[in-house]
């Protein structure tokens, strides 16, 4: 399971940093490295690109995990370079950005767009598997999530638009319900879908951001 990111367009980053002269760069050694959005290579590329636009890069770091407590240690190690910078450009996912905000008072700018929690299907190809809805239904859907993978988040799918196993919105997108039906048919469990699934409680997680305490 990884936090899947894509690079923000460079023009958007330039615009965000337009009043900033000196920048410190932060990458992430885990998910962003795997996505090629914030590993050492991308951080060094960003350094070069920003320098071309006249920015001064006061330093950079790629902590093993940007969203962890080790982020604080990494920040402590780079105190001087960070102190010198006007802002931090964070090339991790949004979780990393949030950690940096906790440990540094400097203005923080994200360099990526965080898409979803996904997995790497084949090298370099990612797909969404879970939207962390707080009410897992994989038991009756054969381990394939229609909330994460059906364009209409149907609980009693498929809709009438699926054709040839593909979603109506894109020929590249498999119909999640097609996959579910295929999988349940194979294991003789198709009857699980005969039950009408009642409306979902979206308030468990998606519309609820209350902090919780570990049980």
């Amino acid at each position: 399971m990884k936090s899947i990111t894509v690079k923000k367009p460079f023009d958007e980053i330039k615009e965000a940093l337009k009043d900033v002269e000196k920048v410190f760069l932060v990458g992430c050694g885990t998910c962003a490295t795997m996505c090629h959005t914030g590993g050492v290579l991308e951080v060094l590329e960003m350094k070069e690109e920003l320098e071309k636009t006249g920015k001064k890069i006061t330093g950079w770091m790629v902590p093993p995990v940007a969203c962890d407590d080790v982020t604080k240690d990494a920040i402590d190690k780079n105190t001087d370079a960070i102190k010198e910078a006007d802002a931090l450009l964070v090339m991790s996912c949004a979780f990393g950005v949030h950690s940096i905000v906790i440990f540094s008072d400097k203005p923080v700018f994200p360099a990526t767009n965080t898409l979803y929690i996904g997995k790497e299907d084949t090298p370099g190809h990612f797909s969404r598997v879970c939207i962390q809805c707080g009410e897992c239904i994989l038991a009756f859907t054969g381990g394939i999530c229609p909330i994460a993978r059906c364009a209409k988040q149907l609980l009693n799918g498929p809709c009438g638009g699926a054709q040839g196993g593909k979603c109506e919105i894109s020929p590249d997108l498999p119909c999640a319900w097609h996959l579910i039906i295929e999988r349940l048919s194979k294991s003789g469990q198709l009857h699980k879908l005969e039950k009408i699934v009642p409306p979902k409680n979206w308030g468990k997680a998606l519309t609820n951001s209350s902090p919780i305490k570990r049980s």
Binding site: K152, Q153, N156, C159, G160, A162, E168, I181, E194, P198
Partner: protein
């Protein structure tokens, strides 16, 4: 009678029903709806008003239905789950019933990506089967989804849609059974061009006795041009147009007349299929042809009940 709408009376009376679609304008003119109503009034038992079809913003279905209702026409209010959450849905239903609307057709709706606001946030709080169930609960138990009581009767004749041509083919029947169990009183299907495949589907429906539990109206979309036929074959999700229909139109001198003939042949075959209780004509941007088709198909006069 559950709602006492004209459509319900026609279907429960055992007549072969005819409904058609009225697309509301991308504007504020009630006369657009009235003109279509005038045109179709004596040729159909009820008229569906679409709900922002293909995710393009248009006058609301509820308003269109009220305008038709004022003309003495029985409207079918289409309602998609794409644009409303459970709060807005139930509220709109209360309003619709208060304004005399008795038929509601429940749909998922085309994905917002297809429309003129592709960046919109799709709601999909509940799905179309849950919508059917919600309306049934509101009508039969006089309760909202949350369990609280509703004051007043919720007179509704509940419709759902089905696409016999979508994949996976065998599963479509399971899903239709779910819709019937959820509370669907009538079904309007996607357009039928491949009558053989449709017959196989309805045979599976009959095998399970589902045709006795619900009224099925088969969809008919008259084809106006070769371009439209090709477009529907290649681009419209969930519609299957056999190549022979496209080539028939390509070879025709009078394409529109050929399109009408094809529709009439399909209707003739549909009338003979056990379990088909009517047709639903969706003449997108060609409403004028509906009276012609209904008349030439021998479906006049419509019953007065």
């Amino acid at each position: 009678m559950k709602a006492g709408s004209n459509l319900e009376k026609v279907l429960e009376g055992g007549y072969f029903a005819v409904t058609a679609e009225v697309g509301p304008p991308k504007g504020t003119s009630a006369s657009v709806i009235r003109r279509k109503g005038d045109l179709l009034k004596f040729y159909c038992d009820a008229l569906n008003v679409t709900d922002n079809q293909t995710a393009i913003v248009r006058m609301s279905s509820l308003s269109g239905c009220v305008i038709l209702k004022e003309m003495g026409i029985d409207p079918v209010m289409q309602m998609v789950v794409r644009d409303r959450n459970r709060i807005a849905i139930q509220s709109d239903i209360l309003g619709a019933v208060a304004l005399g609307i008795r038929n509601v057709l429940c749909l998922s709706g085309d994905h917002q990506k297809f429309g003129n606001h592709p960046d919109a946030k799709g709601v999909y709080d509940i799905d179309s089967i849950q919508l059917v169930q919600t309306l049934k609960t509101m009508r039969d138990e006089k309760k909202f989804l949350c369990g609280e009581g509703i004051s007043g009767d919720v007179l509704l004749f509940i419709g759902a849609v089905e696409n016999p041509f979508a994949d996976p083919f065998e599963y479509r029947v399971v899903r239709l059974a779910k819709k019937i169990r959820a509370g669907a009183d009538f079904i309007q299907t996607q357009a039928v061009y491949d009558v053989k495949k449709f017959s196989r589907w309805i045979e599976m429906i009959r095998d399970q006795g589902l045709d006795k539990q619900v009224h099925i109206l088969a969809g008919v979309i008259p084809i106006k041009s070769v371009g439209m036929a090709r477009y529907m074959r290649d681009n419209v999700s969930g519609v299957s147009v056999p190549d022979e229909i496209v080539s028939r139109l390509e070879g025709a001198k009078d394409v529109k007349e050929e399109g009408v003939k094809i529709s009439l042949e399909i209707i003739d075959q549909l009338k003979e299929i056990d379990g088909v209780h009517g047709i639903h004509i969706m003449a997108v941007a060609w409403e004028d042809i509906v009276p012609v088709i209904v008349e030439r198909a021998g479906l006049l006069p419509r019953p007065v009940l």
